[in-house]
């Protein structure tokens, strides 16, 4: 009996479980998935909670609803992996042996990494929206807030869903406009990057939107500490930004079990081959989603595209064949821009986001790098797709490799 162990039952782990369950012969394979939390969070939905668009019930479901029958489910904290011995130890002392391991332990915010961030004002005037608790507390705060300086601050890269902080700024502009108090709220976007976004072409478009929406941008700001008494964030080079409400995107880290296993980098992300998704150190370990150290975005769409590559390569490896599938860094995101509109971007390791249509050339229905209403509906409809197709490992009508068809190259745009 071959043993496949999947660590983590988030987006990536659940997708892999469903895909492998369908093709691996149960007479030959025993599949086990391990996680410590019974609840599956629809993380893309957290962004909408502070603005009252989504409620808690929109973004949570029991994890077990998405597991196939006849797989072993273990709900326990992972203590550590001993990769040299092909063993995983759980918090309660259980020892599990594997032939193949898939690490899908994700990433979490680590506000304790920044001095003063998790101080007195935490969840009183300082909020995150990367946890359900943070997003819910912020929603409550916004209900009665009378306005002032709203500061959105990315502490340190990399972060999960790098477009979410921008979307938050755009949605806040819309939300306070609708409430008739936009003139009382001064919105500032503070980032350690040198521009509004990681990808140059998209950054240009985004900084135009920020200007248009009267959102001040402060770049190259590396947050050193938070002063809870004077309500300000201070950068390492001693610049200061005052806030009345701080929406923080704290440092993101991989799971602590990776650190306990001695398998991660300085942020607990696992060194992974950027094309094959195999662990750099162990041939029988694959890594997927936010848990990897890849230079691709940490996002559900990326985990989805990776899942197809991992699936193929895993099947090759167990047959003793060479791995053929290559992950190209493909990412695809909707960017909510407020007032019922959104943009969409599609890019990979090599190609910057550009204009065009997606997924069908010329037709779309989605428009790349342009603001449309249908993109916004796409984003809202994605919740259905996520719960019903994506994490169940079903085929989506999009290709995992990025395609150039339907995209308009820069030279053509200029004509």
């Amino acid at each position: 009996m071959n043993k496949l162990l999947i660590l983590g039952a988030g987006t990536a782990g659940t997708m892999m479980l469903n895909k492998f369950h369908r093709v691996l012969d149960p007479m030959e394979w025993e599949i086990t998935i391990i996680d410590h939390n019974e609840t599956h969070f629809y993380q893309p939905g957290f962004l909408f909670i502070p603005f009252g668009v989504y409620k808690q019930e929109d973004v949570i479901k029991p994890k077990r609803d998405f597991f196939p029958e006849k797989v072993n489910v273990v709900m326990e904290v992972i203590d550590k992996i001993i990769p040299q011995e092909n063993k995983v130890y759980l918090h309660d002392g259980t020892e599990l042996v594997y032939d193949y391991l898939i690490i899908a332990t994700g990433s979490e915010i680590a506000p304790e990494e920044t001095e003063g961030l998790k101080g007195e004002l935490w969840h009183k005037k300082i909020f995150d929206f990367y946890t359900l608790e943070g997003a819910m507390n912020l929603a409550k705060f916004f209900e009665t807030w009378e306005g002032g300086r709203l500061v959105i601050n990315i502490t340190e890269m990399p972060i999960k869903c790098p477009v979410a902080p921008l979307e938050f700024a755009f949605l806040a502009d819309w939300f306070f406009t609708e409430k008739g108090m936009r003139d009382k709220v001064q919105i500032t976007f503070v980032t350690p990057l040198s521009s509004a976004f990681t990808k140059e072409k998209c950054a240009e478009v985004m900084s135009d939107y920020l200007k248009e929406k009267n959102i001040e941008t402060i770049v190259d700001f590396n947050t050193g500490k938070v002063d809870n008494e004077k309500c300000k964030i201070i950068s390492w080079d001693e610049r200061e930004v005052l806030f009345d409400c701080l929406v923080t995107i704290p440092t993101n880290k991989g799971d602590e079990c990776i650190a306990r296993s001695g398998m991660g980098d300085e942020l607990n992300f696992v060194p992974t081959d950027k094309y094959t998704l195999q662990s750099k150190d162990y041939k029988n370990i694959f890594v997927i989603g936010d848990a990897t150290n890849l230079p691709s975005s940490k996002a559900g769409s990326v985990a989805h595209f990776q899942s197809e590559v991992l699936f193929e390569n895993f099947l090759s490896i167990i047959k003793g064949e060479e791995m053929k599938a290559k992950f190209d860094g493909h990412a695809n995101c909707f960017i909510e821009s407020g007032f019922g509109k959104a943009l969409m971007i599609d890019f990979n390791y090599e190609t910057e986001p550009m204009k065009g249509s997606y997924p069908v050339p010329l037709i779309g229905p989605f428009k790349l790098l342009q603001e449309t209403r249908i993109n916004h509906f796409g984003k809202l409809m994605f919740k259905w797709t996520y719960w019903n197709l994506l994490i169940r490992g079903r085929e989506l009508p999009v290709s995992n490799e990025m395609s150039m068809s339907g995209k308009i190259k820069e030279e053509e745009t200029k004509k």
Partner: protein, 105 residues
């Protein structure tokens, strides 16, 4: 093709303004780039960081993040910012003749 003038020589640079070829770099060039970056003199502490950056780049194909720099080089964040004001990783990379660290996407 972009170039910069250093010590009377034209040296090729990338779109960020960092040296394009690792082999064009030497310590004298580093000193001149440092001056252009507003650092008149490179101390031993500067060199510790610059050499660490180069070593990481040669081994891994990318310069380290600030977090890795502080963890591995023994220079803490506060001092890094004092040595290379504004953007330590970016500045030290430029002076060290390696591309701007990709950081993360």
């Amino acid at each position: 093709m972009a170039t910069i003038q250093i010590g009377g020589k034209e040296i090729e640079v990338d779109s960020d303004g960092n040296l394009k070829n690792l082999n064009d770099w030497n310590e004298d060039i580093a000193k001149e780039i440092a001056v252009l970056e507003g650092i008149p003199e490179l101390t031993d502490r500067h060199w510790l960081v610059i050499n660490f950056m180069r070593k990481e780049f040669i081994e891994k194909g990318d310069g380290p993040t600030i977090r890795r720099l502080t963890k591995e080089s023994g220079v803490d964040t506060k001092e890094l910012y004092a040595l290379f004001p504004k953007g330590p990783a970016k500045k030290a990379a430029r002076i060290g003749g390696i591309p701007k660290p990709k950081g993360c996407i």
